[in-house]
Symmetry: D2
Subunit: 336 residues, 4 copies
């Protein structure tokens, strides 16, 4: 049983803490949050200790590993501290909003053999993972096109958006990573457009967009499209399509259950898709923990690594340049 | 081009006349209806002659074959007249409501080499036919269970019901035939229940039922369930399921098109199923004509024969005994 | 947190023990099995105590409730002992293979206010439950027909079959209960056929069947069909269809994930359905525990009660009479 | 009955001739092809006259309208001749591969009240048309994103490709038109990438691509993605997705029938999608004729007009500039 402490007790930290607690291969060692009452509430609910500080966790010999789910600006610091303390790391995305900080963190932990896994949950989703496995097994021949649809069920509150670092770094970063995971080679060019179609006023106030489209291309010519929206009223929309010389694979949305309605108005009508990431990627979050335990206990390489986090951020930066300049941008143009 | 005359210009006769006219392998030679204005209207629309009598059609040397879509009580007479006149026959179901009359007709036309095809359209439906083909090809191993769902979109007018001969002879007869087609061997036992669930008052007035369930079994033990309803508000419901030792095949409902809606209320909602038999079995009706031309021109055996019509009626009779007596009835108990 | 002890550490007991351990509203108090090493293995894995006897559990003041997952012949005894000891009961189906024993148990515990819940997992399945809720909400008007498809993925070992008490009491009992749950009124008549289609030799040796079909009818005339097979090679097949005057609802099979394949051979091909009840009804088993905690902590009536277990068994008995005698059997004909 | 002559008896001309002949509102007046035996064969099969020249058709008083399905370079000439002769025109896409020639043709026929309809079949497809209708009815609120998937089942022969004018003018032109149809406002910017992923050698030899992706944007900011491939081995892939503030609509692929297979390998597997445009858009081609008859007989405006043909070609030209220059191109940059 891997003893994992969870740093950060916000929405996603709470979920991770509960998952760690009930995962058959891990135990929850402790929780910490800068807002003490949050940590105490979770600690009480799950029957563990709320640490007084992150340092206390890094120093504890009852902690094998940390799951970092704190605010983004603290991720890189905590990664560095964890590695220094010899604790394995499972860190939520993004590593940092600043590519320079990501690079400096990378330099600091270079050469460590301690596992650092990134929270790119899509890679662990049973449907997406099966799609990737079928692709790798050669079922669709040579991959030609990847289509990723990624739409949140509703626009987040203004306070969230102000801290999120922009759509591409906050939301699309998952899709950039998924594109890399599926393409099997690095995208070398990125094109992006964006707009504030859902809430133009908010968009103007924050200089932020809520709808976007992307085209990526790899050196060998593989093509990838991503589309994003902050408001899919029909539920969290998460689809991946892989099209190749010998066939196609689609990893489609998951419904809460398989009940369908038939009336004089419509047939085969299902409940809206699973509300948001906590529901949609529940299995993926559990599989993340499983994969993480494998990294620590069996020396497996993380399916989603620090380097994957860095490369996804570079694609986000390239996309921002593209959106500003109205042209396809070479990934090699991006400087930290 | 096979020159086909259509007898009967009611709802289904009109459809057949139009289909014969536009089918690439047939031409509409003439139409006839006991109600002259009906025949004349169709004749005018399709640019053919309205015959003054059925006899005129049987006597015409410009007619190769007849499609009988008149009122049920005339079917057997017209079949006999057609065979006497050397015209091939495509006759709507049922042959007659009286098994005795069917037997006497069978006796009269026994030994003829002139094709007599029955209008069991399900056999010609692309989905059902593909299911049968896959079954015959061994794809699901030994067949164990057949489930037939057959529900009309709405209860017909009282006048129709008064002449229809009862649900089992009018509606289920298609399903009895489909059961035989799929089972690949004769059902030897029949069990049936029925009730007037949709319109109990009408049921009481006519001593008629609108909802029914059946279980059939063959000599080798294959099991078949049929369910019927006169009111599927979500559209004409026509499904067949074949379950075997190595798999299952379902021939499902056809939608008018593949447009689906996604909202905050439901996802994947389609338009109701195709309204009724004219829409759902349009391709089947055209394939019926194609098969009929093959019978006449190439000497093919009808996929749905007079004997199939006779046997389906026997199953209906067995079902009536079962419903009355509350027990499983041997098909061999039925006497004409 | 409800402290639940699990009696029986076979396949289903193991699963229940793990579920109780990870359910947020329950803790696993202890486990017991007549085969001590089985209990000790589970106890070790889940970090609890293996009780030396069932009596030890009933006597323990650290146990609030028991989940009975032992061999069927012990169920009724343990229910009686639990009630005598003041422990709430969640008991796997069936209560007993003998209706007389069920009746004597009922008499013994009559009048108790201690909750006794039956393990009819279908009632707790999210899809089936949503279907029932939509029905109760009036979405499909008056219910006319219920179709239950229930097929296991493979024939169990001979040793299992020898002790199982016959297909109707072992497997169909779930479907009889589900029929009652959906019909909303008692079936008053039962018709059944069965056969050994998958393994005739085994069927002959054990005088057992592996494929069956049923028709049930309620006093008001509602119709219900059930079909069973021990061998759905395409995965555990668990469907419910509710057809009414204003629409239809289907609770369909659940796939392991939503990945679909498209090739030159076929399109929209998914992985086989979830393997068996441990996978298919995982959410239902967890919801069972949730409902059980509500019974104990909030005084809720069990969604699946002892009486439901008794009535389902009566339907099984009626079905056996029907199969033997080839006629529809009144439920009132069944004597304990 | 509108008397329509068909010019061009190649693959698509043959189909149009047969459709005109069997359409209830039109008759086939004559056929013509520069290759006389082709015309004579069709004329024989359909029982009409093969005209000796196009001029003969334009001069005939037994012809109300012409359907132009000849080689692309003749389209504009025939349109001009038809208008001069007072014949209504239904012309296959594209009008011409040269935008200059399209502009000169537009100038020549400017002001005519004689209907000119373009063969943009997608607009007439029942599923796509229903999607458009639901959008216009406000069902999904404000439109934000359009996703068009358009993939041919196989790469055409080299000879076809040499004359086709390039992927964007030959194939994508349908999608550019469909984008305009769905967006409800003009795209003002176009971005495109392309590659020869299926057959790089052929691509190099012809300087042609077989796979492409596009992003379009309108003045109000609506976003549209199109993807194209010449090789969807799973069948002709034609999907449209409309995503808006209040919901989503998908017009999905149509299968030949609704038979699904269930085995130990996969479930819900259907036959590959309808092979190619003759099958997939059969209903659309018939609806085209219906719409055309409405134009002539009722003075309706064509759903797909000459101007629509011109604007789609402009988008193709903008896409070529974009692909060459690696930047988003304003549609206003395109000069004839």
């Amino acid at each position: 049983m891997l003893r994992i402490a969870v740093l950060g007790c916000g929405r996603i930290g709470q979920m991770h803490a509960a998952n760690v607690a009930r995962h058959p291969r891990s135990t929850l060692a402790a929780v910490y949050d800068v807002h003490k009452p949050s940590a105490e509430r979770i600690a009480h609910d799950l029957g563990v200790k709320a640490a007084a500080s992150a340092e206390e966790i890094f120093a504890s010999k009852d902690v094998d590993a940390v799951l970092i789910a704190t605010a983004t600006p603290t991720h890189a610091d905590y990664i560095e501290m964890a590695i220094a303390a010899g604790k394995a790391v499972l860190c939520e995305k993004p590593i940092d909003l600043s590519l320079a900080r990501v690079e400096s963190c990378a330099a600091k932990i270079a050469g460590t053999s301690i596992p650092v896994q990134l929270g790119f949950n899509r890679r662990y989703d049973p449907g997406h993972a099966a799609a990737r496995a079928a692709l790798v097994a050669g079922e669709i021949g040579d991959l030609h096109q990847v289509i990723i649809t990624s739409r949140d069920p509703g626009i987040p509150p203004r306070s969230y958006l102000e801290a999120a670092g922009g759509l591409f770094r906050d939301m699309t970063i998952h899709d950039f990573d998924l594109a890399r995971f599926m393409l099997g080679e690095e995208p070398t060019e990125v094109f992006a457009i964006g707009g504030a179609l859902i809430d133009p006023a908010l968009g103007a106030a924050l200089n932020e967009i809520d709808s976007a489209m992307f085209i990526l291309r790899t050196a060998s010519g593989k093509q990838c499209h991503i589309n994003n929206s902050r408001t899919a009223v029909y539920g969290y929309d998460q689809r991946v399509e892989l099209m190749g010389s010998a066939g196609m694979i689609i990893s489609d949305n998951r419904k809460p259950h398989e009940m369908r309605r038939y009336s004089s108005k419509s047939v085969e009508a299902s409940e809206p898709y699973q509300f948001f990431f906590l529901e949609r990627y529940l299995e993926a979050f559990m599989a993340e923990i499983d994969g993480f335990v494998d990294c620590v206990e069996k020396g497996a390489a993380p399916l989603a690594s620090f380097e994957d986090g860095r490369r996804a951020l570079i694609l986000a930066e390239a996309a921002y340049i593209s959106m500003r300049e109205g042209r396809i941008v070479k990934v090699s143009e991006v400087n930290a």
